[in-house]
């Protein structure tokens, strides 16, 4: 009932908006770019964001403009805003373990620090946010709490996406109990699992 009231409230906010600026926020390697790609592929037929197993692949804000998302009779244009993963520590030696040379690793670390700063600044430029978490990770992480706390303070509508539900260690219930005041939807962006429910929830958040 609370969710329905909130959804109604937020739908009023978006009335009259031509394009919804949808931010993808979360910790490093949670699958923000993979989810943005899945949405992009579902509705434009092409993947637009770089993904990698090496942390901090996204080091600048990437925007895919005017992606028309449709679900049943509902449709809406979104600017997909993929942001660098937010971290409290960046150590170039971590990248060496992924096979990068020292010079590349240092450069990547430097760019990653700038990316985190940019992601935080962009909190002011989004209409609503998908907080993408790795469902197999501990959700009681200060980065998650800081992101969600900042969005709540700015009254930005939030949908928590527990990604990687295909992994054995994934635990959606744990994510739900960490953030009981938010709607949590489980997906596997990589395998396309749970996307129907995800689009339903997205429209519940921002429907016209």
């Amino acid at each position: 009932m609370v969710f329905k009231a909130l959804a109604r409230f937020f739908s009023n906010i978006f009335k009259g908006k031509k394009v919804v600026k949808l931010g993808f926020y979360g910790p490093v390697n949670a699958g923000k770019s993979s989810l943005a790609n899945r949405i992009s592929k579902d509705f434009t037929g092409e993947e637009s964001f770089h993904v990698s197993k090496i942390p901090h692949e996204t080091r600048e804000i990437q925007v895919k403009e005017k992606v028309r998302i449709k679900k049943g009779k509902k449709e809406l244009d979104f600017n997909l805003i993929d942001t660098p993963g937010i971290a409290t520590r960046i150590d170039y030696t971590d990248f060496l373990r992924h096979g990068l040379k020292e010079k590349e690793a240092k450069e990547r670390a430097k760019e990653a620090t700038q990316g985190v700063i940019e992601a935080i600044k962009w909190l002011e430029n989004v209409d609503c946010v998908l907080v993408v978490l790795d469902a197999a990770d501990n959700p009681y992480n200060q980065v998650n709490i800081t992101i969600i706390g900042n969005l709540a303070a700015r009254k930005v509508p939030v949908l928590i996406v527990a990604n990687k539900v295909d992994l054995k260690k994934a635990n959606i219930k744990r994510v739900e109990s960490a953030f009981p005041q938010y709607k949590v939807v489980g997906v596997s962006a990589l395998k396309g699992k749970g996307m129907d429910e995800f689009y339903e929830e997205l429209f519940s958040l921002v429907k016209r």
Binding site: T88, R89, T113, Q142, A153
Partner: protein
């Protein structure tokens, strides 16, 4: 030679008169001295975000960042808990809760659970 770990407790009274900038500067200065800060109270969410921003600006060869955890609310959102925490917040303001901030070179990870904080140290 074995190195000890220094934990510096900062009472709320020491930061309450400071603006956000000075408060964050002071915390980061102590952390950069390779000490773990235990803060009485909790930073505001925008201060936490700015602490991360300021940390990123300072990362260099010797400083790899921070680990941070705040204890404030339990995931137990039952009625009596809400009343208790609401009352505590009303009486104590941002003095309510506890924050731990440590240098990433020293603190490998802070594992947070609704009811406990565990510091995993680098060897």
């Amino acid at each position: 030679m074995k190195r000890g770990i220094t934990i510096q407790f900062i009472p709320h009274s020491e930061l309450s008169g400071l603006g956000s900038d000075s408060k964050l500067k002071k915390i980061l200065k102590i952390v950069r001295e390779n000490k773990i800060v235990v803060l009485e109270g909790k930073l505001k969410s925008d201060e936490e975000a700015r602490l991360i921003e300021n940390t990123m600006k300072q990362i260099d060869r010797n400083f790899k960042g921070i680990e941070i955890a705040s204890m404030e609310e339990s995931a137990n959102f039952d009625f009596f808990y809400k009343i208790k925490s609401g009352l505590a917040r009303m009486l104590l303001g941002d003095k309510f809760g506890l924050s731990i901030i440590g240098p990433a070179s020293l603190v490998k990870e802070i594992k947070k659970d609704p009811s406990k904080i565990e510091l995993m140290m680098n060897k």
